[in-house]
């Protein structure tokens, strides 16, 4: 009887929405665990209904099957996506390299190659230039010497020609 009065008290609070979750649990447990007197028949039906509702559940097997297929395809999907991403990047790089190469070829064809600056140290460049000029001037010097020889030949030839003319004319004169 003492129990019943406690339950009645809780019920009053329950209808006024003043019960805590623990107190509501107590009510549920009470109405689902024992024979209920007739005065409490109405709330008993309600609390039994709540308890029955809680027994409903989703079809575990079907759900698991569906979900595992999603999870699996998700894993496989990840690898495939990664492969495609890498392939895309690789293709992009290949196109870029090929394009750069072709464009460079075109540019090379249309512009004659400029003299490239090969020396970074100006003094060294000066020395090299001097060396090159010296080589040219030496070449010129040598050539000049040789040219003097040719001149001698020319002079000799002219003299010979002059003599033979003289001889010819003397022949005619004779």
């Amino acid at each position: 009887m003492r129990m019943d009065s406690r339950i009645e008290q809780l019920l009053e609070k329950y209808w006024k929405c003043e019960t805590s979750l623990e107190e509501e649990k107590e009510l549920k447990d009470f109405f689902n665990s024992q024979e209920i007197s007739d005065e409490l028949k109405e709330p008993a039906t309600l609390f039994k209904y709540f308890e029955y509702q809680k027994k409903q559940g989703v079809d575990e097997e079907r759900l698991q099957k569906k979900l595992s297929s999603v999870v699996e395809s998700d894993k496989r999907g990840k690898v495939v996506t990664m492969f495609f991403t890498i392939a895309k990047i690789a293709a992009g790089v290949v196109v870029l390299v090929a394009a750069t190469y072709l464009v460079r070829e075109e540019v090379r064809k249309s512009y004659p190659t400029e003299i490239a600056d090969t020396y970074s140290d100006p003094e060294l460049a000066f020395e090299e230039t001097k060396k090159a000029l010296m080589m040219i001037s030496r070449g010129f010097g040598k050539a000049k010497q040789e040219a003097v020889k040719i001149k001698t030949f020319n002079e000799a030839e002219q003299i010979i020609q002059g003599n033979s003319e003289k001889e010819d004319s003397s022949k005619i004169n004779i």
Partner: protein, 170 residues
């Protein structure tokens, strides 16, 4: 969140999600679809799940939204009774007692089904699933006063109607 965490943390709430979807949709097959969709969504957004404080409430809210989307999107009718698959498991009772209990369950079920949508949702979350008021606010995206008023009205309507049923057999 990996598969293990997913199974340990998310899977145990699947029945709660199912019951909530069932309450909203009145159709077991569709409720099942919603639960699947919710769980798949959770799985797909598992990277960001750690940022969510109360992911159970988050899942329930998602269940509510997906269920309402379904209700809105298609012309549908409730095919399954709320009591489908609900066995009265009481040992040592005469067939008469069993039918009596099943009958009263059916009455309560119809009674609750006749409540306005919001009241039904709040009552389900509080009295069947045992959520705190704060969690119900979060799930239903309502403020505290609305939740409390809805629950108060729901309980009072149920109480009055139960008395009527018992008194007049209506």
């Amino acid at each position: 969140m990996d598969l293990r965490a997913f199974e340990n943390r998310v899977m145990p709430v699947k029945n709660k999600l199912f019951r909530f979807a069932l309450r909203l949709l009145d159709n077991a097959a569709e409720a099942e679809d919603v639960v699947q969709d919710v769980l798949i969504k959770v799985w797909n957004s598992r990277e960001t799940m750690n940022q969510i404080n109360n992911w159970e409430a988050w899942c329930m809210r998602l269940t509510k939204n997906l269920s309402l989307d379904r209700l809105r999107s298609q012309q549908r009718k409730a095919t399954d009774s709320l009591m489908t698959g609900l066995e009265v498991k009481q040992e040592g009772m005469s067939p008469h007692e069993k039918t009596e209990i099943a009958e009263s369950m059916q009455q309560v079920s119809e009674l609750i089904a006749s409540l306005p949508e919001k009241q039904r949702q709040v009552m389900h979350l509080r009295d069947v699933e045992g959520y705190s008021y704060n969690e119900i606010c979060e799930i239903l995206e309502l403020d505290m006063s609305q939740v409390k008023i809805s629950l108060f009205r729901a309980r009072n309507t149920v109480r009055e109607k139960l008395v009527k049923i018992n008194a007049y057999g209506l």
